[in-house]
Symmetry: C2
Subunit: 422 residues, 2 copies
Amino acid sequence: MLDLRQHIAAAKQASLAAATLDTRIKDQALLAMADAIGASRAELQAANAEDLAAAARAGLAAPLRDRLALTDKVLDAMADGLRELAAQPDPVGEISELRRRPNGLLVGRMRIPLGVIAIIYESRPNVTVDAAALCLKAGNAAVLRGGSEAFHSNQALGRLMGDVLERLGLPPSLVTVIPTPERGAIAELLQLDDLIDLVIPRGGKELIRFVAERSRIPVIRHFEGVCHTYLDATADPSIAAPVVVNAKAQRPATCNATETLLIHADALDRCLLPVVEALVAAGVELRACERTRQALRERGFVSNQVVAAEPSDFGREFLDNILAVKIVADYAEAVAHIQAHGSSHTEAIITSDHATAMRFIRDIGSSTVIVNASTRFADGQQLGLGAEIGISTTKLHAFGPMGARELTTLKFVVFGEGQTRL
Amino acid sequence: MLDLRQHIAAAKQASLAAATLDTRIKDQALLAMADAIGASRAELQAANAEDLAAAARAGLAAPLRDRLALTDKVLDAMADGLRELAAQPDPVGEISELRRRPNGLLVGRMRIPLGVIAIIYESRPNVTVDAAALCLKAGNAAVLRGGSEAFHSNQALGRLMGDVLERLGLPPSLVTVIPTPERGAIAELLQLDDLIDLVIPRGGKELIRFVAERSRIPVIRHFEGVCHTYLDATADPSIAAPVVVNAKAQRPATCNATETLLIHADALDRCLLPVVEALVAAGVELRACERTRQALRERGFVSNQVVAAEPSDFGREFLDNILAVKIVADYAEAVAHIQAHGSSHTEAIITSDHATAMRFIRDIGSSTVIVNASTRFADGQQLGLGAEIGISTTKLHAFGPMGARELTTLKFVVFGEGQTRL
């Protein structure tokens, strides 16, 4: 039987060493992993072929099998990602806010790793390398548990990374791929709160709920992305139309795609037709409120892609080429609608009015708030974090896209000259 | 029957208003609360008298009754604390790291409140005001649940704060004191993860465990403070002796008091006698390793305050005038001992060597790491945070003493000019 605790205890021990590794050595390991992926293509694809064959036997749908495949293109992208990460700054070790207290103590904060981070994910085996690399960059040990359908691929990638670490004289337990496909191992892992500091589930709603409900360890959750784009009274139609189409239709199945369009009543004359025409041309189905349909009829617009919205269409994550549309009387109604139906993920306003833009930035509590651009920018790469380990929709520790820095914390450092407390 | 959910839903609603309150208005409320405490002394003390009488009838020990008492001095300190907090900077609204992306998007982070924070605490009623004020300063709604023995005092303080908020036109639900002393209400509260963003338990180990085990809401925990002070080979005895005495004996029952003294073997000749003599003179009992006792015998030091350490004395939180003492062969053994026996709270090094000081700061992963000063400085006021809502010994979200800023998070803000994603 697998002694899971022993594996994780080794990861914990390795994390103590990782916390003080020089940047140069961590980046050297990332580059060596990139090279090893290039050099081990044949072995990786042989292991992957076992998973693909099993998936075919099990009758897995074609899109799921596509996600599983370690093609040359996927392997190259993994290696490129490692090289990009190596080029980014090391978040660990920075001392900030160093200030002198009245008694002469110098007090500051130093950025340090979290320790051991477990990532639990679904089919794509590239997550195995991406997540391990981000953890390593931030000085953490990674414990990885992918989908059972990618078991052989993940094992091979884990061996590859372990070999590189060992060759460089680093503890191979910095990257631990759980060596069993059994689901019971996840439940067991989630009990080890004395060894693991953070759990990040990546995948569908059910996986995230499963992890959040069973974990004794803190979990960073990513729930739904019910994103809104709001056309303010002063929205410029030449911005509104392309941005709304991009926000909905560029990749409708992603969590940062817009699901509901809110339109200020005063924007109807200028914006309604150009925006609706562009959406319909892009193949989007509109689930429109009665007032929107009335306004379209008045303007002589007819399309069978415009249907009546059900109340449940507002606040719904379609993950498809479908958009709910609602006319609001004013700014306050738009904000109230978002507060009632949003998921704190990402909201955008299209406006020409500076005061309204700044008010929206302040009033909306979502993890990403955007002025005059597509909600699709709510993504670690796009926002300049480099690689992304996930998107948090809860506020504690991290809120929004998470990069390497979000896998660290701050401790206090104090420099004295013999001070004692009075 | 109390509808707890309805009370907390009102707090949630109030938190939306609180998130965008102007600094001036929040500070005005804090100052008005300070004035109200001065003006309502008689009512507050009458409510407190009910609690004190019940405590006397229940045979509560004198120190516990002392903690419960709202004396003039305690009320003045509460009012002073509110005025100091009003004078501090508002953490909310700051936009930082605003940078332009290659596509022209301007991306930054904005500090925002967490939302609704529940604080569950034990006897001292002053926590009711301190915690509510810190939450309000950071734009959060506070849900407060104190010890049942302080029920009437806490209700009176809650009414006072609610009246001030109402008078200023603010939602009184910004401060919600749970209106029942029943313990079942805590378990119920801990289930409301759709309404409450964070739970902070303040009190003994049992309370913290009770909350952590039952909560569906993220909890910031404060476990034991097993703090170490390490005398390096180059420790200056004129710093070591007063700092170690202060770290242990200034207030031995606090979580930042030193529990174990580690001494480098090369420091014995210069430091052992001055440090041990000062500790014994301060009334401290030393639980010393065999090598320490041998070294004291060789130096002709005899005291019945020096006894043999049990293995369990290392890693133990005495919370008393007792100190475990161990000689280590070198720096590495000191670090390994701290990693094995510490609680990640606070550790200090006494050294004259700069490189060793900087190495210790890097090697020790505790929430506060101190060079040449007393571990007793690990405290929000002392470190310059202003008021403190607790000390986190887990790394997620906050690590170490927590002030108003630790009751906030960062969201992304994005300013565009019509950008769409490619």
